[in-house]
Symmetry: C2
Subunit: 147 residues, 2 copies
C-alpha cells in the first residue's frame, strides 16, 4: 500500500505540474500541494478547505498563495468556481468530465449529473438568439422525495 500511495502521489504531482505549466505558472512547492489537493478532492472544497488540506501536505502554504493560485488556475480555465446558492466559492478541477450539480437543500449534499438532452437544448436556445455558449451553470436545488 505504501507503494501504491507513493505512486499515486507521484502521478498526481506530475499531473499537477502539467496543469501549472499549462497555466503559465512556475511550479513551486506550495502550488504543488494546492494542485494535489484539487486532484484528490472528491468534493467541492472552498478556499479555506483547500488551504487546510494543502497545509497538511506542506505547512508553508499561506492563505495568500492559496487564493492566488486558485484565482490563477480559474482564470486560465483549469479550475471551475461554484457558488451554490449564496455560499462561499467552491472549486473543482476543470479536467474532470463535464457535469452539472444537484444540491440537496436539506443536507447540503452536492451530487453530479449530466444530460446530453439538456446540453443540446441549451445550445439550440443560444443559437436561436444568435449566440454560442461559452459556459453554463445548471444547479438543481432539491428535496428528497418523501414516500
Amino acid at each position: 500500500m505504501l507503494h501504491g500511495s507513493a505512486m499515486a502521489s507521484d502521478f498526481y504531482s506530475s499531473e499537477g505540474d502539467a496543469i501549472l505549466r499549462e497555466a503559465g505558472l512556475r511550479v513551486t512547492r506550495q502550488r504543488r500541494a494546492i494542485v494535489r489537493v484539487l486532484f484528490e478532492a472528491e468534493d467541492h472544497p472552498d478556499a479555506e478547505q483547500v488551504l487546510g488540506r494543502a497545509r497538511d501536505k506542506d505547512a508553508s502554504v499561506s492563505q495568500a498563495t492559496a487564493y492566488r493560485t486558485l484565482a490563477a488556475l480559474a482564470d486560465k480555465g483549469h479550475l471551475h468556481r461554484h457558488t451554490f446558492d449564496g455560499g462561499v466559492t467552491r472549486y473543482e478541477l476543470a479536467s474532470r468530465p463535464h457535469h452539472d450539480h444537484m444540491i440537496d437543500v436539506e443536507t447540503g449534499e452536492v451530487m453530479e449529473f449530466v444530460s446530453e438532452e439538456i446540453e443540446r437544448l441549451q445550445k439550440k436556445i443560444a443559437a436561436e438568439h444568435g449566440y454560442d455558449i461559452v459556459a453554463h451553470r445548471l444547479e438543481l436545488y432539491c428535496k428528497r422525495r418523501r414516500r
Copy 2:
C-alpha cells in the same frame, strides 16, 4: 402623462405594500421606496443600485435598511438573488414570470428565456434520483455568434 405617472406610482405602491405585508413586514416609507424600485426595475440591480434608486424616491433610505429589506424579502421568497459568475448579488422580484438567464460575456448584457422542455427534463432527472426540485438556476454564458 402626469396622471399616468401618478397612477402607476400608486399602483406599484399598493402592489409593494401587499408584498411587504405578505412577507410579514411593516410598511414603512423606506421599504415602500425599495419595493417600488424592484417593481420598476427592468434589469437585475445589485444592492448598491437598489439603494441609489430608492434614495431618489426617498432620501432617508439607509444602506442598512436596503440590505435588511432585500434580505427579508429574499428569505420569504418574494425576491430572487442572482450571482452571475462571481459578481455581486443581484435582485429580481419573484413575482415575475419564471425564466432563466443568458449572459453575453462580452457586454455583460443579461437576457431572459424559458424552455418548457428543459424544465421538464430537470424534473425528470431529479425524479430519477428520488428528488423533487425546490428551485433551480440555469445560466448560459454566451458570445454573439460571428458570421
